[in-house]
Structure formats: structure tokens, C-alpha cells
Amino acid sequence: MDPMIVTKEAGATTMPLGMTVAEPSCQMIGAELMTFADDVRGNSIFLANLVSAFSAHERCGLHLYRTAAGMTQIEEWRAKYEEFGAQTAEHVRILAELTTQLGGDPMYVSPQARMTEFCDSKLMEAILLAGSVDTMTMELTTLEAVFLAEQKCHANWELLKTLASQMTDSPARRAIEHAVSEVEGQEDEHVRWAQQTLKQTIMALVGVGLAAGGGGEVS
């Protein structure tokens, strides 16, 4: 199983809701999600759907980094996009592993995951309007997309961390804590770099210099 690819061939499942239909063999029913992370003793179905959405966001992040690395003309940014993209691919794998440890299916695409993918794809659609902006505006738009995506990504992992902190000691709690510990440093760095780079670049374009060390502060 390659967690980067979610297709029928790879074993994808979904929960048909509203307008969505799927073959019976690809359908996930609520009862199958009832045992997801049951140590939490909460709404297992909601949590399973949420974690699936987190996975979708990580996959979209990987696609965003690939695009950004290919598009940018700023070498320093390209290096960062490639570095963070590789880390994001690893985060996809870690989330897939966590999903399995919690009793879920990493190939499950929840309705929430579909909506996450839809919203994330709109961030990337900015490229469709590239013909009427200058190069720097496009660079900043891409960086802004990274910043927004990373903020959500960061918030997702924070949520998992908070969730674990509310749980009694259990295999599920330890699995979540382990996953969070593997990624949180990198997630902090992704947001920090995107925010600081965006800020510094805009200030430079405006013609106002930043004091050394001040780039990461947001008022």
C-alpha cells in the first residue's frame, strides 16, 4: 500500500453521503468506524472521518509543495519547498500508520476528506490566473497558499495532541503522541518559515527593512 495514492486499485473506500455513490465493495459504513480509536470513548465515526480529512490535507500539501518547487524561480524557496515536501510525504506515511494503529483504514476517504481536498485544490487554482499578474505576485500567491495550508496542517496536529492529552493512558493515546512527536517540530518549522518569508518578502517589496530576528513575530 502506497499511502500517497488513493484509488480503487490501491484499496480506496468511502462513505457514500448525499450525492456520492460507490460500489458496495468500496463502501465504508458507519458501523465499521465504530471501533476507531475506541480508547477515546467518544465519537469514533467523527474522529475517523476527521483523521481521514487530515490525511487528505497532508496529501494535498505534498502536491502543493511539488507544484511550488516546480514553479518558483527563487532557488532558496525551491530548496525549502523540496525539503518540506519530502517531510510532508513522510507525514502522510506517519498518518497512515497512525490510522492503522487506531484501527482505521488509511485508504478510507471520508466526506470530510473530500471537502478538505476540494478546498485545498482551490488554493492551487490560483495558477489559472497567472497570466494577469507579475512574477512576484505569483511567487507570493504560491507562498501564501503554502502558509495557509501549513497553518491548517499545524492546527490539525495540534488537535491530535490536545486529543491525546485528554485521553487516559492507552495504546491509542501513545500512538497519537508518538505520531505527533515525530512531526510537530517540522510542522512548527513549516509555518514559521512560510510566515517569516512571506513577511520579509513583503516588507522588502514595500521598501521597509526588518530588524534582525524580527521576521517571525506577528502582531
Binding site: M4, I5, V6, T7, K8, E9, A12, T13, T14, P16, G18, M19, T20, V21, A22, E23, P24, C26, L62, H63, L64, Y65, R66, T67, G70, M71, V109, R114, E117, F118, S121, M124, E125, I127, L128, L129, A130, G131, S132
Partner: protein, 408 residues
Amino acid sequence: MAFNPLTEKGIPIDKQLRNWSELSVQPYDKDEVDPYTRCRVIAMNGIEVESIMFSHQFARHTDNPDIKRMLAMTRRVEQQQQKAVSGLVPGDETTLEHTIAYEQVAVDLTAFLARNEPDPYLKQTLDFALLEDFDHLYRYANLLDLIEGKKADRITKGLTEIMPGRPTVDEHRHPYDEIRGHYEKHTVDPLSRCHVMTITAAEQQTMNFYMNIGNRYIEPIARSLYQEIAMIEEQHVTQYESLLDPLETWFQQEVFHQYNECYMYYSFMTEESDPRIKAIWELHLGQEIEQLRLACEMMHRYEGVEAEEILPQSLPEPTRFQENKGYVREVLASQIDLRTVGTQFVPLDQLPKDALYFSYQQQVNGGGLVPSEDVIKEHVRAQGGDYRHETEGPHPVKQMEQAATQKR
């Protein structure tokens, strides 16, 4: 042997343009052509038209010059492909004769797709419209006999039966009841996606054809029959396009269009009996492989998605034109009275009394004129019965064994 267009070498895009001589193809002989060769020509014409119109829509949603240029280049070749395919239709094939062939496409393509469709809901959707196109063939066949004095089985050559399906008069449904659920882009079988794209393109082509040629006849019965059936084709396009997952992005849709063209040209190339036309399918497959590569390159560049992440490792089993008489009879016998409520298929006797179906029926059929009924009545009056071509015995639905136009 598995065929993967992603690993095949196509014709470079700058080598794909043809001059006018190359585009000026020899039409088929309408009396000699294999009916299913003609069906393939009609189907591929529709698929090219859809590809072109999608590309235009995509181009209208971007000002990125690189994307616009790539779309314009590919689209120009698609236009040439469409001209070459469309040019195979001879000028001495009358509009009604060609219409009979359109409906033969609709019947045997839909039936084949339904028989091979893995998703039960998509299969049901195909079965549902199958019976309606089957009825259109019957109505047009009677019109052909009435105004041109020609038997439609000379065109279909007995490969497709001609008899009533779900009566066209009963097919008029409220627009809300034409919406269907859609497949999910991650879980959909690649074959299902190809089925949906193919049938949407084919029905859209039929809709466009009737929209534009319905006024080419002088006879009021012909003009009004084209109008009525064209409205059903609008319903069918509404139905089939609903099946597509809107989560698929512009770039992904472009890739899927190119992929489906590869799939259909490959399918038809492997079964084509006319060597001259087979060579056209082969040439176009070589062109589509390159167009697919370019679409995948664009998707990778602007979305970071690799082709292998969304496409299978080989083309699905080919789509074929072949006889489906037994299958059509089974569906006729079991689903003739099916209707829809919203996205669901419901037997007529289970429709709620206040169903939109009834009020819409009253609105469109309530004026006294129902061309699809009148054409049969006229045929019965003129020739003592309706025109049919039943090769496998009497109609599988007892009450349809006779030419009974509905009392309303």
C-alpha cells in the same frame, strides 16, 4: 495484452497537424458499411466534440498563457480528428437514416456499458436510459418509413431490434428528477469513469445533433418528433453528467478526457473490420497518447499530481459494439415501468401522487399533440400497423406486442 498509454510512444504534437488533402477522407458506402463501423464513427465524433468543448470551457477559466497555448494546440488537433471522423459520413445518407444510426449507437453502446459496469447504481442509470433510446429508435424508424419509404433494418442490418421501449411520451420528467448521484473519484473503477465519460459524450452529441438538424425537415411530424426526442436527450445529458465527480479538478478532467479518448480509439482499433477506418483509429490513438502525455505533464506542473497517482496501470477491457438483443429484452421485461424521484429509480406504481413527474407530464403532454405517439398513429393509419423489426420473437412486454399508442 495490457495496453498502458502512459508507457507508449505517441506522435509528437508538432507532427499531428494534417493538410486539407489528408483531412479529406473517403466516406463509407452507406449500403455496404458494417452498421457497427458506422456506430463507431458516430461515437468517436461525439467523443471528439466533447473533448473540444471541454477544452474551450477550460480555456475560458484561465488566463495562464502556457495553459491556454497547450489547450489551443491540442484542441486544434482534436478539431482535425473530429473533421476526419465526421467526414466518414457520406452525403447521401439522409438525416433520418443517420438518425437511425445515432439511436443504434445509443442502444448498443448503452447496453454494452451497462452489461460491463461494475457499479450497480451506474448500471441502473444506464439501464434506465437504455429503454428510452430504444424507444427513440422505434419512433424514428416509423418516421423514416412514413416520409422516406425506407425500412430502418436496412441500416441496422438486424443487429439491433426495433420495437417499442419505454414510450417516449412517458419519458418526460421534471428536471429535478433527472439529477443522479455521482461516483467518488478515489473509489471509482477506471472502467466506470470511462463509461460515464463515453456515454455523456455520446448522449451530448445526440442532443446537439437533434438540436441542430430537427429543423431540416418540412413535414411537421418530423420537425415535432425531433423536438420531442431532443428534449429527452437534454434529460439524458443532465442525467449522465450528474454521474461525474465535481471533485475532479480542471487538470484532472483534461487528463481523463485524453485518457478516455485513448481508451476508445484503442477499443475501436482492436475491433474495427474496415481496414481503412481501422487505420484512422490507429493514427488517432497515436495522437491521443501524446495529448495524454501533455495533459499529464500539465497536471504534474500545476497540481503536483503524477499521472500514475490517478490512472490505472493499463487500459480497462475494451468497449465493443456488438448485439445486445437478449440483454435489452431482459431490461425491457423488468424495467419498462421505472420512473425517477430525485436521484432514485422508482416503479411507476410507487410514485407518490404529488410526484413532480405527474405535473410535468401534464404540462408538456397536455396540449393534445404528442409527436412520438402521433408518428405511430400515422403509420398505423397509413400502413395498417406500426413498423418493427423483431428478430427474437414477440415483444417481451405483453401489452406492447401490438401497436397500441397510449390513451391519454
